[in-house]
Symmetry: C2
Subunit: 705 residues, 2 copies
């Protein structure tokens, strides 16, 4: 990676015309059009292949038993996945890692005062859903909670984010030496654990409030798709916003003999016990709280007026985990590329689930197998992708994006050099509304694929449905063209993180969303999917069409379908908005150089794209341009990494530390501004400026082919 | 009342200077200043007199027993009030009327399907509040509900307003032949009954949803001041927005031998049975409802996701009332004016309560007795008001503003000619935030009095506290001076209605507000007041100071403290806003003449006020100006009354028919526009224009002294 010097920037600006005239040719002998036409025929065939019934059968297999990462049942799903890929004519192997996976031994929660109550910590059986009767159902726990036995008064802290604790302090209440109870929502649960720990809480309870995730949203299971009173959101509280993957092998692959740090050295493991609760278990605890009434917007939907505490509610929380190093199993499939085999187009989905995971993640696993079968079918008929296609079936995503991260860390050099894009599907389907997030350079590409697939609901294209929905959601009537609707930004919460945010591989993440109220509970089951999610599995098949089409185009189009002009415009917008924010906060921070760099980058991307649009590339120049397009995203990687979390190296995108799942753009800069740390902000601004200059330089000079 | 011809308007415009120069004189021999100075001394004495302990004692007496209008216990409160007034040196009489007051015999509500449930229809006893144990507690009922025994499926219709039924129709659901269940709030309950009737419902249940009136607001009684699960809001469903008072004697006094219409002729009596419910009783009924989910903003705070129905919930509602003509008892007290005894300054409060009425209305009754005692004390020390002061202790307000309306109807001519202003206090205190509504001509007067009374909470003036609160509530920072904050508009819901809206007497309505969650329930008790409302009764005493000061100034200041320039500006604003509304609705309606009339009126009022501010009035002209000021409000009375409800004759102010308690300005015009009835809108616009021209002419010509 270049560490670009400023004078180079000035110099290279004058080279644009020269450079483009060198690689662009108006010769008729262009590879672009014929190949696309050829692809279009294959695409037509492909779109006829994905079959809902196959996907339904896969899902039934995947969800037959609870298959938490590292269990024998999880291993069985890996074998099933590998065998199906092989059956479809795709070479496939199980790749094993050894990672720290704490399993719960015995957790309990009791209210000691004012009235004794023992939390049930178990989800009700539901007569309609046979899977809810399985005695092997995973206990309700938060992975990586510390072991503990703590007794203390309870304090209610809303969503448990920094602003909530500040508000608490204004009311003169502290959680120091007390146990905090917060509701799920607004941020990743690991953030809640970290903030509780920082504020001196000795334990943390996280419950699902019905206003956010229960009857406030609609009818509860099994009458409706939403969270029922006994339902619990399991989940990891690993501080993955510091680094993702196995906590004992940051930055390196957790192979058998990897050099491991001790758990006490792992900064991503919480130091206090954390326990998730159903709203039924939370009710007696919260109802008994005294102290001041909550601020108006802290009130949830349990049938009483909420109080802050502390006490008189006093609880005893016991958590006990085995903290073992366990084997996990990724499955990696491969279709070798015909002409550029070293270049990699990767699609991936995790396979491990907290319990049955019919939605999360096995709707995606089942769809991915159908993509594999359909592409396998094309192979049999003679189709050959130019570039290599990799299937990743990741394990232990739920514990902390572990399977994908370890694989990316193990293959970092190769991926960094050759990965064209990573296409993630975690939840394929829990409703009928398509959603997609990704890097801005892939927006037009995503739009294009969406335009070529039919939405079963409307009969129009997925793109048209998506645009109508975006327009309907707009509160102010702004004049925008259909293609002006941006796809979302990538934060964290799924396996695109190591690809994009650790090594700079352009990524997309997508799925069909709807009224999903059984997240990480026992009720995320095959019955739920057949009753509420996708009874006919037609949306699963539609997702397989979109996903496969993306893979086909990325692996076979002569010119990589990247458009950086949108990246340029977005980056400039991000910088403008951050600079406005800094001005409002009245910080002594001059961002004019950063703004200039953003504006220059935007201009360069627009000129570059304009030429690409206007002129046909000569065959011998395609390779150079493709290499340039591939490397431009890599230019946003700073090898030094972000401040205080060097594993995250993408300067534009990273999960916000306090925002949790949410994307934060230019996160180091934004967080320095938020905490009014001027010197950090100056460093981050200069880091951002360099990244933009690198990206610009990458576009201007051809990278080594 | 003049029916002003257009050419007169043109003519009179030129007479303003002449007219003002005629009545205004710059002579030193002005009565204004000396009298005010004299008053200021008396005011100082007055402000030292109201005593919290006296008010507390009155409240204990008033709230000793339930005293619904027409009962022997109600009569006892009349005797107590009359005797106190006499004790304070104020002549007082009980004035009896005979009016239709239906008392409940036996009401019941049962759910027949899907699960049998018998509604309790009774409020829990509360150990801390002895009054909740009284076996004589008034049943929970809606006065003037029809008698009925209806069985039908239930349909949930949100707040039961026209827009809710339109939404229901969009969902393909009708209440025809069914029983509607709606929540309290947003509008007067009589409106809900009328709209249910119009939509073909055979019965109506009205319950208090906890999100509006229960734990959604805060802790419930007795832990906090808000509505508890068994608590029921009683109340009248008489269609008082058509005409107020006894339903059998519209427009005339209900004296013993009055000519009565039959109940079936009375348009204000609902034709379907209506029953109020606690949220505890409503829960099983609503929870069992099927059919579609409710629109998002129809969801309340009961712990399940709401459905529309119809059914499977099926209920049987039985209501039975005796519909007797009963005696009610106003108490009228009088302090004769020394120099203008025929001119009347009236203060009033109702005395009847649904149960104990510690807040509603007897906080006001107790404060009024302390105003009487304090003014009586001044009389003993030699103070003499110039004008006559009338105390009105109204009965049967809860049934439909009956006591006040009958008295106003009986004294209509005298009041129309001589009433200077009516100062209403219904609820004096249920918190610490002062609120006042009234005609715009009394705004500056109200501000002035508020500036001279201290807020016990802040030590600043009531005016300053009020302005700070208004500023804090403003979401957008608009540059306004302190005196720009408007007082509220008068809709309906208390006894100012017959005074202002039937005969055009300028009126104010005020009280201290707070976290009041026991409205019309058994818990509106002395215990509630001592625990939550005003433990030291200091706000009661403060209200007595404000109220008495207003009475003193209105009864003794040489120049009536009316400022019509604010009326002019407000009227013009109202017209502008209506005209904008009509334009947005794209109606074929030309309001330019009305706008011109409003603008002319505003200009006239500003010129008039400017002269009054600038020049001192000669003694012999004060009478003329005072008469003019008194009559200007009367000019807004149209003897023909509003469309389809001729009892309401004030062209600017009336309760909105579908808005219920809310004030509607230029109501006939606004409602015609809302229903897009062009011909009605044109008539109403011309009626409004004439009223504004009359008011202008009144200011320009001196009225007969």
């Amino acid at each position: 990676m270049l560490n670009q010097k400023p004078w180079i920037i000035l110099l290279v600006t004058f080279c644009l015309a020269l450079f483009l005239s060198q690689i662009v040719s108006s010769a008729n002998n262009s590879l672009q059009q014929p190949i696309i036409n050829g692809s279009r025929e294959w695409e037509k065939i492909y779109l006829g292949l994905p079959n809902p019934e196959n996907i339904r059968r896969h899902l039934r297999v995947y969800t037959e038993e609870p298959h938490m990462a590292g269990t024998p049942e999880d291993y069985q799903t890996a074998v099933y996945t590998r065998d199906r890929l092989r059956e479809y004519g795709i070479s496939a192997e199980i790749v094993e890692y050894q990672v720290l996976l704490p399993y719960p031994k015995e957790n309990s929660l009791e209210m000691l005062r004012p009235t004794p109550y023992k939390a049930v910590l178990k989800e009700d059986t539901v007569i309609e859903d046979k899977d809810s009767f399985d005695t092997a159902v995973t206990p309700v726990f938060n992975a990586y909670s510390a072991n503990g036995d703590v007794t203390g008064q309870l304090v209610y802290v809303n969503y448990g984010l920094p602003a909530d604790y500040r508000r608490l302090a204004e009311m003169g209440v502290s959680v120091k030496g007390k146990i905090a109870i917060v509701r799920y929502g607004k941020a990743f649960r690991g953030v809640k654990a970290k903030v509780a720990e920082e504020n001196g809480a000795i334990g943390l309870l996280i419950y699902s409030d019905p206003v956010d995730d229960g009857y406030g949203a609609g009818d509860v299971y099994p009458r409706g798709p939403y969270r029922s009173p006994s339902s619990v959101q399991r989940g990891s509280v690993l501080y993955t916003f510091l680094y993702a993957g196995d906590p004992l092998t940051p930055g390196i692959a957790a192979i058998k003999d990897a050099k491991r740090i001790s758990p006490s050295e792992a900064t991503t493991i919480p130091k206090i016990p954390v326990q998730p609760l159903s709203y039924r278990d939370a009710t007696p605890l919260l109802e008994a709280l005294g102290g001041p009434n909550v601020p108006r917007n802290w009130q949830g939907m349990l049938p009483f007026s909420y109080h802050i505490g502390p006490g008189p509610t006093e609880v005893r929380l016991k958590t006990s985990f085995d903290f073992q190093i366990r084997k996990i199993w990724d499955v990696i499939g491969e279709i070798k590329g015909a002409t550029e085999p070293e270049k990699l187009v990767i699609l991936g989905n995790h396979r491990d689930a907290w319990v049955y995971g019919a939605v999360d993640p096995n709707s995606g696993s089942s769809a991915m197998l159908e993509v594999a079968r359909s592409l396998g079918e094309l192979l049999k008929r003679g189709w050959k992708p130019s570039r290599t296609i990799i299937f990743g079936s990741w394990d232990a995503e739920e514990f902390g994006l572990i399977g994908s991260t370890e694989w990316v860390e193990e293959n970092a050099d190769r991926l960094s050099k050759n990965a064209v894009a990573y296409l993630n599907v975690d939840v394929a389907v829990n409703g009928t509304n398509f959603g997609v997030s990704g890097v801005p350079s892939l927006m037009a590409f995503a739009h294009g694929v969406m335009a070529d697939v039919t939405d079963p609901k409307t009969g129009k294209s997925i793109f048209e449905s998506w645009v109508s929905r975006q327009k309907a959601e707009k509160t102010t009537p702004v004049k925008v063209g259909d293609t002006d609707f941006q796809i979302g930004s990538l934060g964290s919460g799924s396996d695109y993180t190591p690809f994009l945010q650790h090594i700079g591989v352009p990524a997309l993440d997508m799925g069909f969303n709807g009224p999903y109220g059984v997240y990480h509970s026992v009720y995320d089951s095959f019955y739920w999917m057949e009753k509420f999610g996708d009874p006919t599995f037609i949306y699963h098949a539609t997702l397989a069409k979109i996903w496969g089409l993306m893979v086909m185009r990325l692996s076979s189009e002569a010119l990589l379908p990247f458009d950086y002009s949108n990246y340029g415009r977005q980056a400039e917008k991000f910088v403008d908005s951050i600079s406005k924010d800094a001005k409002e906060k009245e910080l002594d921070l001059n961002l004019s150089e950063l703004k200039k760099a953003a504006s220059d980058f935007r201009q360069t991307t627009e000129q570059y794209q304009e030429r690409l649009n206007r002129e046909r590339l000569a065959a011998n120049n395609l390779k150079i341009v493709n290499e340039t397009l591939l490397r431009t995203e890599r230019a946003f990687i700073d090898p030094q990494g972000l401040n205080q979390r060097s594993w995250y190296r993408h300067v534009v995108y990273a999960p916000g530390i306090y925002a949790g799942y949410e994307a934060e753009v230019f996160p180091a800069l934004q967080e320095a501004i938020d905490s009014k740390n001027i010197s950090q902000a100056r460093l981050a601004a200069s880091q951002a400026k360099s990244a933009l200059e690198r990206a610009k330089a990458t576009l201007l000079f051809n990278a080594n082919p």
